[in-house]
């Protein structure tokens, strides 16, 4: 396979020659279709392997196998959505996006299977020790944490509380929590965002705003 190095001056230019050739050759019936698909798969396999390495995920044959799966699944999705490519970026950057999403999804499923969040990770009991007031700490800070604890208990919806406790307090990964709750990243993020806004508002309402803006709201 001949790999052409990119020009740093051209990313994003519409209808770049390499992008146009990718799209043409990946179309069914093109004489170079099979070769282009194999090349794309190889480019994506190397990108997936690098991404798994960058995330420090998996090792040895398992990493190689998952990279292969990610490349295969990303290639299939790209071929199915070839008409969606509008030339607003280079074709390869568009394609890297597919394989990185595959890596994310597969790592979340791997984590979900091997280290699923426990019921305790999602259940509100108290603020973690790292947030507990320390002796000698300012009274206002102690009050802030007391209001926060009450607000987590009283001001959040059950779903907001579950999501906030899991992600913000117990470091559960958002994609793993999405699998646990049979949801998706965007919906979980919205729950988390709303929970944080609600808790900030509770602190401000108690006279303990976290920002100047909230103090004057």
């Amino acid at each position: 396979m001949s790999v052409r190095r990119p020009s740093a001056a051209t990313p994003g230019r519409q209808s770049a020659p390499a992008s146009r050739r990718w799209v043409e050759q990946l179309r069914p019936g093109h004489p170079l279709h099979d070769e282009a698909v194999a090349t794309l798969h190889d480019v994506l396999r190397r990108a997936a392997l690098h991404e798994l390495n960058r995330r420090g995920a998996l090792a040895g044959p398992e990493r190689v196998d998952v990279a292969q799966q990610c490349a295969g699944d990303a290639t299939m999705k790209i071929l199915a959505r070839l008409d969606d490519f509008q030339g607003l970026s280079r074709f390869t950057t568009w394609a890297y996006k597919f394989v990185v999403f595959e890596v994310s999804n597969k790592l979340a499923r791997h984590a979900w299977r091997h280290h699923p969040p426990s019921a305790e990770d999602l259940t509100w009991e108290h603020l973690p020790d790292t947030l507990a007031p320390r002796p000698g700490e300012q009274a206002e800070r102690r009050q802030q944490l007391a209001v926060l604890a009450r607000a987590i208990e009283a001001d959040l919806t059950p779903r907001q509380r579950e999501v906030f406790v899991a992600i913000a307090l117990n470091d559960v990964a958002i994609d793993v929590l999405a699998l646990r709750l049979d949801s998706n990243r965007n919906a979980i993020y919205k729950n988390l965002f709303d929970a944080r806004r609600r808790l900030r508002a509770s602190l401000a309402a108690a006279g303990l705003p976290l920002s100047e803006e909230e103090a004057h709201a």
Binding site: A18, E35, T39, V43, T92, S104, Q144
Partner: protein, 77 residues
């Protein structure tokens, strides 16, 4: 972990956050603005805010940027 900054971070929720889904279709364009040395927050302000707060989307963004930098733009031949 009890100073104001850390509590502010724990409860970080910025106005204008576009959320996760909004970044999916434009992530490749966002990354290429960065590769050209331009500021993507001018064109995609809501996603720029989101990427500061959402670790999942930030990891995806960093992965695409890293792949584009490292593997470049090979042709199909």
């Amino acid at each position: 972990m009890t100073d104001l900054h850390e509590l502010d971070e724990l409860l970080r929720a910025e106005e204008g956050d576009a959320g996760c889904d909004a970044g999916v279709p434009i992530l490749d364009q966002y990354v290429e603005l960065e590769l050209r040395g331009e500021d993507p927050s001018e064109r995609f302000p809501g996603t720029a805010i989101h990427l500061r707060v959402c670790p999942g989307c930030r990891a995806d963004h960093d992965g695409v940027l890293e792949a584009a930098r490292r593997f470049g733009d090979p042709g199909p031949e």
